[in-house]
């Protein structure tokens, strides 16, 4: 951040410094805010679900719980699979709305999970738009892409879920912070809290510390994976040794801290008289034990890391000198193409495809060939079917009972600015025009009984239809009730309106 500001300062002094500095922080906060949007969106969309009355479920809570479950299940090189997450979510969902059956709870869990992955979109992610300032200080809209849960495939071919950095950051509420310093802060906080005996806060801090550890392990995992593919891809001269040293030192500290905490808490648990307190202390013990287990795992990986590097170096090192100069496909074609904007990349990649795809001899079936072709059993498309995306369907609006023409005709019938008319008279005139129209007129007149004046004022309507009941009975073959008196009233503006509203409502009461 500070580096950014100085650079800007050096380059453009005439620019108001405030704009650029605000810009960076603003963009970052916008991105952070965007990460929470999918969760809010769940609650907004839940009423549109047609398979359950979902308004009782707190979807955002369920989503956070889902991200929690995935994060906790994330080990060094594995994650949670869909079924596990759904199974772990169900009890939580059941506590929200206990009177629904298990199937519905499970369906809610799947719906939330699918939405966190964003199944149905091609990229299975989310997008938000935010603004930055360009070189000349002009406003530019950029799109920010992020994911919350990603599906990955393990060596055995199983698909599992991992929470992304964005999700972990949203979850622990520590946006844009340094992993290392956040870890120290959490530790200090934890020890303090335990000394002061505030168990629920201590638990929170311990959980946060655990998420940090998961993130840490994830960084190392990515580095090692990259090394396995290509030793040169990772800086083993400085970066990784530093990382390993740091991580080992850090684990040492954590071990000391956590063992101390564990002793402390175990005593607290055994000494506690209150049942609830005892219970919470016991939970904390479990969490701290889990932390220690994770550290042990991380340490084992760290010790193997050097070995991994040496093995891979040996494996990848040897190759004979080049015999004749050809093109280096990776360095001279693939990487430069990847670095191009999509519009520019389409040419080189298209040309390569065209030239490397070979030829396609047009098939000209003879009669025998044709019969054979028709008799061939349908192709097995086990792996490569098109994805059947499930569309998010909104119900169609009900078809209009009355046509637009009928509405317009009834409008002119009910334009009664000069003199009020009785419902019976209106019905008679309506039937003359169209027998069906009488129904619409009757409905609109009934609707005009006790009209919403406030709404009319807000909409800025000029006049308003009012129906008043004077006790005369309606004699009609189709409708029954009172023969209402109908008139159009002028809607007064501003100060006048309040008065009118007052008089009208008293009138209403009298009528009622």
């Amino acid at each position: 951040m500070s580096r950014w500001t100085t650079t800007v300062g050096e380059v453009e002094y005439d620019e108001p410094a405030g704009v650029e500095t605000v810009d960076e922080g603003l963009a970052r906060r916008m991105k952070a805010l965007a990460c929470t949007a999918p969760l809010h969106d769940l609650d907004n969309r839940k009423t549109r679900l047609d398979w359950a009355d979902a308004s009782d479920y707190q979807m955002a809570e369920i989503a956070l719980q889902a991200i929690d479950q995935v994060t906790i299940a994330m080990d060094f090189d594995r994650g949670a699979n869909h079924e596990q997450v759904v199974a772990r979510l169900c009890p939580f969902i059941a506590t929200q709305v206990p009177d629904r059956d298990h199937d519905e709870h499970e369906r809610v869990a799947r719906w939330v999970l699918d939405n966190l992955i964003n199944v149905g979109s091609v990229d299975r992610g989310f997008q938000a738009v935010y603004g930055t300032f360009g070189g000349a200080g002009e406003y530019q809209r950029r799109s920010f892409d992020f994911k919350l849960l990603v599906e990955l495939v393990s060596g055995e071919g199983d698909v599992y879920l991992r929470a992304t950095d964005e999700a972990i950051n949203v979850l622990v509420g520590a946006l844009d912070t340094d992993v290392e310093s956040a870890q120290i802060a959490a530790e200090v906080k934890l020890e303090n809290l335990i000394k002061r005996g505030r168990l629920s806060d201590a638990r929170l801090a311990a959980e946060q510390a655990r998420y940090r550890t998961v993130q840490y392990a994830d960084t190392l995992r990515r580095k090692l994976e990259a090394t396995r593919r290509d030793v040169r891809a990772v800086d083993w001269e400085r970066e990784v040794p530093d990382l390993i040293d740091e991580a080992l030192r850090h684990i040492e500290d954590r071990f000391r801290a956590e063992n101390a905490i564990l002793n402390n808490i175990t005593t607290a648990r055994d000494d506690a008289e209150e049942l609830d307190r005892k219970h919470r202390a016991a939970q904390l013990v479990d969490i701290v034990k889990d932390c220690i287990r994770r550290h042990t795992q991380l340490q084992a990986r760290l010790q193997d890391a050097g070995e991994t590097f040496r093995t891979e170096q040996d494996r990848q090192q040897f190759s004979a000198p080049a015999r004749r100069a050809t093109i280096d496909l990776f360095g001279q074609l693939l990487v430069p193409s990847l670095d191009l904007p999509l519009a520019d990349a389409s040419n080189p990649t298209g040309v390569f495809f065209g030239a490397a795809a070979g030829i396609d001899p047009p098939s000209v079936p003879g009669l025998t060939g044709l019969v054979e072709m028709l008799l061939v059993p349908s192709q097995d498309r086990e792996h490569l079917g098109d994805e059947i995306t499930e569309p998010d369907l909104a119900p169609l609006p009900d078809p209009d009972r009355y046509s637009e023409w009928q509405w317009r005709t009834s409008d002119s019938l009910l334009d009664l600015a000069e003199a009020p008319r009785r419902l019976s008279g209106l019905l008679a005139s309506a039937r003359e025009i169209d027998p069906d129209l009488a129904g619409l007129v009757a409905l609109r007149v009934v609707h005009a009984y006790g009209p919403e004046v406030g709404t009319a004022i807000r909409h800025g309507d000029q006049q308003l239809l009012i129906a008043v009941d004077d006790g005369t009975e309606l004699v009609d073959e189709q409708f029954g009730g009172t023969d209402l008196l109908v008139a159009s009233a002028h809607v007064a503006r501003a100060g006048e309106a309040v008065e009118e509203l007052a008089t009208l409502s008293t009138e209403d009461e009298e009528v009622a």
Partner: protein, 266 residues
């Protein structure tokens, strides 16, 4: 008499070209094919005739060897041409077609790059490469990560402008696409990167460019001499020329960069 001979030669030349269209046929399993390949190597007039027949059909002969048979490529707008539009047909989604095509092209490039990781492997005629779906996806993602880091290092904002998504860098489009995704019926989604790579590899196997070895790592394949010739003699140079035109490629020293590039590049 000589006319009959000429007609017979023309037929032989056309037959050699026709055999090249049967992608999986090899000279070693066919006596006639073997004889024609040998004749192509020894008889310059016949060679010329083969080239002429191919040219007339809208084809280019890239190479004729005992291992590969006749390797042909189509000229532009020939009936034999495989168009990207056709290939990427099924994955067409709204306005994102061009991005989709770029991803397919990149994947084909990556399969070749992994099949022949060093420049030497492309030149060495006895080299047989091994590629798997997992490997291709892993390496491309790794390259994307490295470009991402480089961009971060340069402190450039790489989020694409909302109004100009086509200016988004290709590596971003690739790394954003999920590696794998399960459809409702439990299959691998065709528009995930692994799905697209699987499609590419199967397609190349159909074309006689790869041979299926086993299903490990999402599907493992071996390269064939045909593929080597196709990539070396045509595809790589053409794509290289395109990149040269764009001014984005450096001339290498032949050592290859998948293994031995500058530390800040990789």
């Amino acid at each position: 008499m000589s006319t009959t001979q000429a007609v017979r030669d023309a037929e032989s030349a056309a037959r050699l070209v026709a055999l090249g269209m049967r992608q999986k046929q090899r000279p070693s399993r066919d006596a006639v094919y073997t004889e024609l390949v040998q004749r192509y190597a020894q008889d310059d007039a016949f060679k010329e005739q083969v080239h002429a027949v191919a040219a007339g059909l809208g084809l280019v002969v890239l190479g004729v060897t005992m291992q590969s048979g006749t390797v042909l490529a189509s000229t532009e707008d020939s009936v034999f041409e495989i168009k990207m539009d056709e290939y990427a047909k099924r994955s067409a989604i709204g306005g994102k077609r061009s991005a989709e095509k770029v991803l397919h092209g990149l994947i084909h490039l990556a399969v070749a790059a992994l099949g022949f990781p060093r420049p030497d492997d492309l030149a060495n005629e006895t080299y047989v490469g091994r590629v798997s779906v997992e490997q291709v996806d892993g390496v491309v993602r790794e390259a994307c990560r490295m470009l991402d880091e480089r961009a971060k290092h340069a402190e450039a904002n790489n989020d694409p402008l909302e109004s100009a998504p086509e200016l988004e860098r290709a590596w971003r489009a690739y790394s954003r696409r999920p590696a794998t995704a399960i459809t409702k019926d439990g299959r691998l989604a065709a528009d995930s990167t692994r799905g697209m790579i699987t499609k590419a590899m199967r397609f190349l196997a159909e074309q006689g460019f790869l041979t299926h070895v086993n299903n490990e790592e999402g599907g493992t394949y071996r390269t064939t001499p045909r593929y080597q010739i196709q990539v070396r003699e045509l595809a790589a140079t053409r794509a290289f020329d395109e990149l040269l035109d764009l001014g984005v490629v450096a001339v290498g020293d032949g050592t290859g960069s998948l293994r031995a590039a500058e530390p800040e590049t990789l």
